[in-house]
């Protein structure tokens, strides 16, 4: 009995420590982002609590010796890139997974060549792409060469998510729709897609977040207009101020809000079903 209790304590403390290490950097960053400015540096102790660095990131702080973070445009670029990558990867992932519902000749080969995109080290892929682009005289840009690599990288993730979804998908509902006289295309829109929609959301989320903070592939192929992770790294290499931390907190909050939107979208669809089921819908209308 004593042994079980001590094991419980051990595992509990171990887990607590693990969580602490996991969130440690973020907590430190969060605390330091409230450092006094512009004199306060990115280290303890906190001289005085303030929101100066948040104002600084937003551009509301009066000019000082600390230059504003060169991230405004980079952020827009990153968001645009992540959005485009998300759309393309998810569409391709859904379509490919749909194709894999039937065994076809060479399906094994296709499967591994798709998966390769996420297995091959990003540095190698980035370097290779950069060399290839130079060879053919193609300019390297975040919206061209880097975009292609982002899709190559996130597409396998979207594909795998959808593969798992289709694995549990019961094709008999599609057959039912066909036998009711509904065309295959309309069956996909009206039956298949609504059922796999939660999976599609997951695939989108995956693709977006992976692309949003992608580093090595973008480093080699992004060209001169940097994306957000590269911009942050650039400031880090010179001298850092707590404005970077404030920015970090903001982007993390942004990611969280994406997750919250995802959760809301999911629960809305299930709640609507539940509401209808319990007859609530009738009362409302």
């Amino acid at each position: 009995m004593d042994k079980v209790v001590s094991l419980k304590w051990f595992l509990g403390i171990f887990t607590a420590l693990f969580v602490l290490f996991l969130y440690g950097p973020f907590i430190v960053m969060g605390i330091l982002s409230f450092q006094q400015g512009p004199e306060g540096g990115p280290q303890f102790p906190i001289i005085e609590w303030s929101t100066y660095w948040y104002q600084h990131v937003m551009g509301y702080a009066p000019p000082s010796r600390v230059a504003p973070l060169p991230i405004g445009e980079a952020l827009i670029r990153s968001l645009t890139l992540a959005f485009a990558t998300m759309v393309v990867s998810t569409v391709m992932g859904v379509l490919t997974a749909q194709a894999f519902r039937r065994r076809f000749r060479g399906s094994g080969l296709v499967f591994y060549s798709v998966i390769l995109g996420m297995i091959v080290p990003g540095v190698l892929l980035g370097l290779g792409m950069a060399l290839l682009a130079n060879q053919f005289g193609i300019d390297r840009n975040w919206w061209s060469t880097a975009f292609v690599l982002h899709v190559v990288y996130t597409y396998p993730f979207a594909f795998l998510v959808m593969l798992a979804i289709f694995n549990r998908f019961d094709a008999s509902v599609e057959e039912a729709s066909l036998s009711l006289g509904v065309s295959p295309a309309r069956t996909f829109r009206k039956v298949t897609f609504p059922i796999i929609f939660p999976g599609v959301l997951s695939a989108m989320l995956f693709a977006f977040t992976l692309s949003y903070d992608e580093f090595p592939r973008t480093l080699f192929t992004g060209g001169s207009d940097v994306t957000m992770p590269l911009a942050i790294y650039g400031t880090f290499a010179v001298e850092i101020h707590p404005n970077l931390f404030a920015f970090g907190v903001l982007t993390t909050l942004f990611s969280f809000s994406l997750l919250v939107i995802y959760a809301i979208l999911l629960s809305v669809s299930t709640r609507r079903q539940r509401a209808r089921a319990s007859g609530l819908q009738e009362d409302i209308s």
């Binding site: 057959e175 509904v182 309309r186 209808r276």
Partner: protein
Amino acid sequence: MLEVRSIFKGFAGVPALSDISFEVSENEYITLLGSSGSGKSVMLRIMAGLLNPDAGQIFLRGEDITNRPCHERRIGFVQQKYALFPHLNVFDNIAFGLRHRNNDRMTDESLITRKVSEMIELVGLTGQEQKMTGQISGGQKQRVSLARTLVTSPEICLLDEPLGALDANLRERMTIELQNIRKELGISFIHVTGNEFEALAMGQKMLVMSEGRIVQQGEPQTLYTMPQDLITAKSMHSFNIFSGDMMADYLKAGIKGKVPATKISRASHCAVRMDKISVANSSAKASGLEATFLTSEFLGNKVIYFFKTNDNRICEVEDHMSLSEPKLLNANSTYRLSWDASDMLLYDENKQLIS
């Protein structure tokens, strides 16, 4: 109205269907009986257009529809596990075909509501319209699935083991209701089942399938009393079947009355209905096939007695309670079984009935 002409189908070289031909008339209830793996579901999927045959043709009102895609056939298909749309409620499930089909799509919601409501009433789902499919019972799902198909007024409706997942009570009720619904609409039904009672009770015409072939088709009563094929007899689960070297001895011992010796010599198999066998004490002078009583099974309206013959075959005897009192038999005692020559069916080496 629907004609299936020599359909062949194989999977990876293994034949699943060979030379299937039959016809369905207007306003007819057909049952298709077969054990699992007999190819009955494959046949149904080919008719529905969900599978392509390797050879053969299907005609609907004289038109060749063999290569017509599923959604243009106007053949309804009620699946075994209902396959309801999980994201839609009962009403929308039933209205789905009317709203989204390619031909004759309905956009007038009031018309859709009227048609769907009529169908809901016909299948007895009134009051369930707004429920989601996860919140209704198995029997109700079955009704939704049926209503969803029937509301689109298909030329013909295929049902794949429609009562398979229902409990016994519900099954009996649905048997009657299915027939009533069909009569009301005047659509032909093809009902696939592995249950001989269902097939016998429901079909105006019955097909028996085995190993990818139709072994016999006809009226249920004829199939039951005079199975032309030994497989048909077997699938009725109402016959004792004797085959092999010992058969002639069995017959000699068991038959009351005369059977021409030439007929017996041609026979390779013999089938005797379970309820046509009489049991006598071994001590009595009565002749008959010697067999040891093992046990009996009381089924309410009938009793089934299990005997073991001297070469360890099981022989079943059925007694209907309305006809006689249950027998009092001692376990492990020897009895003599006998039957009238006229109640015995003989089959040749090709398993065909010798008339």
